[in-house]
């Protein structure tokens, strides 16, 4: 049975995780991909009408196509679709401002929902903005391995301790989840139940989880500290960086495109272009 449930889940949404590849986007420096996320976010916040945002969405879709991950990245939106629909609906009925034709209005207690041309445009803009941000974020995650991100941060001159902490944080997440599972299993095997309201009735049972968890975390951190020392952590003031990411021509091209996009958005905002 669990297998069937898993299959159904996979059919609805794709996994938001790094997807190895050799596309144009994959070969960009991670810093360029990071800049793409930042630039797209700024552009999205600059435009307030659906048409330019639809244009940005087309550009992001093209970026996804270049990465060879357009459909998979769209599929990652499936889990947040209900949230998106809810936000758009709220924006449609309770917009910041109303203008144009009023199609429907009501008064329900303290609430006064109104559906108008202005509210629909506002909701569409908000919906587009959220979809763009989610898509560009998904594409960043799907094209950037954690280690390449850490390497690029090292390349930017971030302190060794900070980049190590970032790398270690990801490993720790797995460790902590695994440790907790093992502790629950070990205590359950000694007839300690964690089901129902047992923990509310007898909070002292939490000690059987908290003490081993604390001991495991402390003991692991001691082991890791020793292992780091033995492997030379901190031996030199400036550690080297293996396969340090380097800016190439495609990074230059991409960053120029991003700069042009930002310039267009800023000039539009300043009124140089009349963007609907």
């Amino acid at each position: 049975m669990p297998l069937r449930r898993g299959k159904r889940r996979r059919a609805v949404g794709a996994r938001l995780a790094y997807s190895p590849g050799d596309s144009f986007v994959h070969r960009l420096d991670p810093r360029t991909r990071m800049a793409t996320v930042v630039a797209t976010t700024l552009v999205c916040l600059t435009f307030e009408t659906p048409l330019p945002l639809a244009g940005v969405l087309v550009l992001v879709a093209a970026y996804g196509w270049l990465a060879g991950l357009l459909l998979p990245s769209i599929r990652t939106l499936a889990p947040i679709l209900p949230l998106l629909v809810t936000i758009v609906a709220i924006d449609a009925f309770f917009p910041r401002e109303n203008y144009g034709t009023i199609f429907w209005s009501a008064s329900i207690g303290l609430l006064h929902p109104v559906l108008s041309t202005g509210s629909l445009l506002f909701a569409a803009s908000m919906g587009l903005r959220l979809v763009i941000l989610a898509l560009v974020g998904a594409l960043f995650v799907m094209t950037t391995s954690y280690s390449s991100l850490v390497r690029s941060l090292k390349g930017m001159g971030l302190p060794n301790s900070l980049t190590f902490a970032l790398s270690y944080a990801l490993r720790s997440t797995t460790w902590l989840a695994d440790d907790l599972r093992r502790i629950v299993e070990a205590q359950s095997a000694r007839a300690l139940s964690f089901e129902g309201r047992v923990l509310v009735r007898e909070p002292s049972r939490l000690l059987a989880l908290a003490v081993p968890m604390t001991v495991t975390v402390i003991s692991r951190s001691r082991h890791v500290t020793d292992a780091m020392q033995v492997r030379g952590y901190g031996a030199v003031a400036r550690p080297s960086c293996y396969h340090r990411p380097r800016f190439g021509r495609r990074d230059l091209l991409m960053n120029c495109a991003l700069a042009a996009l930002l310039l267009w958005a800023l000039l539009s905002r300043a009124g140089w272009f009349d963007v609907l």
């Binding site: 049975m1 669990p2 297998l3 898993g6 190895p20 391995s145 954690y146 280690s147 850490v150 060794n160 190590f164 790398s167 270690y168 990801l170 490993r171 797995t174 460790w175 440790d179 093992r182 502790i183 299993e185 070990a186 205590q187 359950s188 095997a189 000694r190 007839a191 300690l192 139940s193 089901e195 000690l207 059987a208 908290a210 003490v211 081993p212 001991v215 495991t216 003991s219 692991r220 082991h223 890791v224 500290t225 020793d226 292992a227 780091m228 020392q229 033995v230 492997r231 030379g232 952590y233 901190g234 031996a235 030199v236 400036r238 550690p239 080297s240 960086c241 293996y242 396969h243 340090r244």
Partner: protein, 493 residues
């Protein structure tokens, strides 16, 4: 102490005392240890649990005294430098250490990042890093794992990555603390072969602290034996002596046949299970009956499905297909806490279990959860403490302040005290010395003789052979052999 140019390790009058902890006096872990090691030697460090092997390994790397609280006496010189005078991280080019648990020393996300970590920390050039990473990866035969994430690796693969990561900085001395624990026979043999190749190819000095010596003895040059922190023997081993160590598998086995008229206490029928996100089944159509009065030993490589099978016995994980029944009743719809009345399971890792303030509280925790009276709990605790040789430790001691071997025995005791008809133990010999293993084997045999069903998953073949009535081999989630042993304790012992 006479030393030559080829002497790479010089330990002189080394002593170390751990500070006191609540309920425990200061512990002298090492006492006047003196020995030296020539370049290119493989030295076996032997001794019972708590004899000071791990502390000596830490002293060689400089972790004692730099990061370990306590008082150190004497000196340790590695390649001519006193460990007191050089920070631990500066010794990485000279001496590397692989710890017992590979998980706690792998802190990068991918294998390549892990192997290159030490080189980056030492500020190596890109070209040197390229060559060193490629060499270390090739030497440990992990080329195919180079871009894998650490989380996706098996225990044996992690062990090899940990060694590759240590070797990447090209140290002159490699210290390994119980590298074979948790490895199946095949992986252990491969690792021993690698150590031998390292010595031959790079004149590397290797110090190995290990309880499972049957595989290492043939390639070792010397054995140094510790007892209660003192060096009690320092012997040269010849190849003949090494090969004289008896190997498992010298006993003739017969196909298993159940005893006529006996009724199984555990029936496993067509059980299949696959972990989420894994493409391969952990268990694939397993059929197995376990009988009272028998010790069944499960063996097989890492990832063969032994631990998964044990976790199914008390419903911690439920089969996707197939059924498990205990004493005639299917356990599919029963909560784990209820099944625990009939099946006591000890999982790997005592630290995941221990939390009570005293050994007695810890051991009686399971029985108390089962509603056993205080008087009966006390009787069971006393029995278990005596039979596991824990009576030498003050009963008020916190389990968390004990050594690894002692903690393991307390964990075993906490499951045995539940006095369940079925007892399942996963790698119970981790951290136990030969004498404690023998006592544990005898204890399990005694339980079986009193009509209990005992099932043990282990990589420790000599231990398994010594106590098993029946040996079941798993491979790729399937049972490949099911054999009756000629008689526990027969043959190799």
């Amino acid at each position: 102490m006479a030393t030559s140019e080829s002497t790479v390790i010089e330990v002189h009058n080394l002593g170390f005392v751990y500070p006191s902890s609540p309920g425990r006096e200061p512990v002298r872990a090492l006492d006047a240890i003196t020995f030296s090691v020539e370049r290119g030697q493989i030295v076996l460090l032997l001794g019972p649990s708590g004899s000071g092997k791990s502390t000596l390994c830490r002293a060689l790397t400089g972790l004692v005294p730099h990061t370990t609280p306590g008082v150190m006496e004497g000196s340790v010189r590695i390649a001519g430098s006193d460990t007191r005078e050089r920070p631990v991280n500066a010794s990485a080019r000279v001496i590397g250490m692989v710890f017992q648990d590979p998980d706690s020393q792998l802190f990068s996300t991918t294998v390549e990042d892990e192997v290159v970590f030490g080189l980056e920390q030492l500020g190596a050039d890109e070209e040197i890093m390229d060559a060193a990473v490629a060499d270390a990866i090739r030497l440990l035969k992990i080329d195919h794992l180079r871009h894998s994430t650490i989380d996706a690796l098996s225990w044996g693969e992690r062990q090899r990555v940990a060694i590759a990561a240590t070797l990447a900085t090209a140290p002159s001395v490699l210290v390994l603390d119980e590298p074979l624990s948790g490895l199946d026979a095949e992986s252990a043999s491969a690792l021993v072969g690698t150590l031998s190749a390292l010595r031959a190819g790079f004149n590397l000095t290797v110090i190995v602290s290990e309880h499972r010596t049957e595989l290492l003895a043939p390639v070792a040059d010397r054995e140094v034996v510790l007892e209660e922190g003192r060096l009690v023997a320092d012997r040269v081993l010849s190849a003949r002596q090494g090969s004289a160590v008896r190997h498992p598998g010298c006993r003739a086995s017969l196909p298993y046949r159940q005893r006529p008229g006996s009724c199984p206490s555990v029936e496993i029928r067509g059980v299949c299970f696959r972990y989420p996100g894994q493409s391969r089944s952990a268990l694939d159509g397993v059929n197995l009956d376990l009988y009272p009065g028998e010790v069944t030993v499960l063996i097989g490589a890492n990832g063969s499905g032994k631990s998964t099978l044990l976790r199914m016995l008390n419903g911690i994980i439920r089969p996707e297909r197939g059924t498990v029944a205990v004493r005639g009743r299917p356990i599919a719809r029963r909560p784990v806490a209820d099944i625990a009345r009939e099946v006591g399971v000890l999982f790997q890792g005592a630290d995941y279990l221990l939390f009570s303030e005293s050994i007695a509280d810890e051991i009686s925790f399971g029985p108390r959860n089962l509603g056993v009276s205080g008087e009966e709990c006390a009787r069971r605790t006393a029995d278990v403490v005596r039979s596991l040789g824990l009576d030498g430790i003050p009963p008020g001691s916190s389990p968390l302040s004990l050594s690894i071997g002692e903690r393991q025995r307390v964990a075993i005791g906490s499951v045995l005290a539940m006095e369940t008809p079925v007892v399942a133990l996963d790698e119970p010999t981790l951290g136990l010395d030969s004498e404690r293993k023998l006592r544990l084997g005898a204890l399990l045999r005694g339980l079986a003789d009193r009509g209990r069903t005992v099932v043990v998953a282990t990589h420790d073949r000599p231990f398994g052979d010594a106590c098993a009535d029946r040996t079941v081999t798993l491979h790729g989630g399937r049972i490949v052999t099911d054999e009756r042993n000629p008689g526990p304790g027969f043959g190799c012992r």
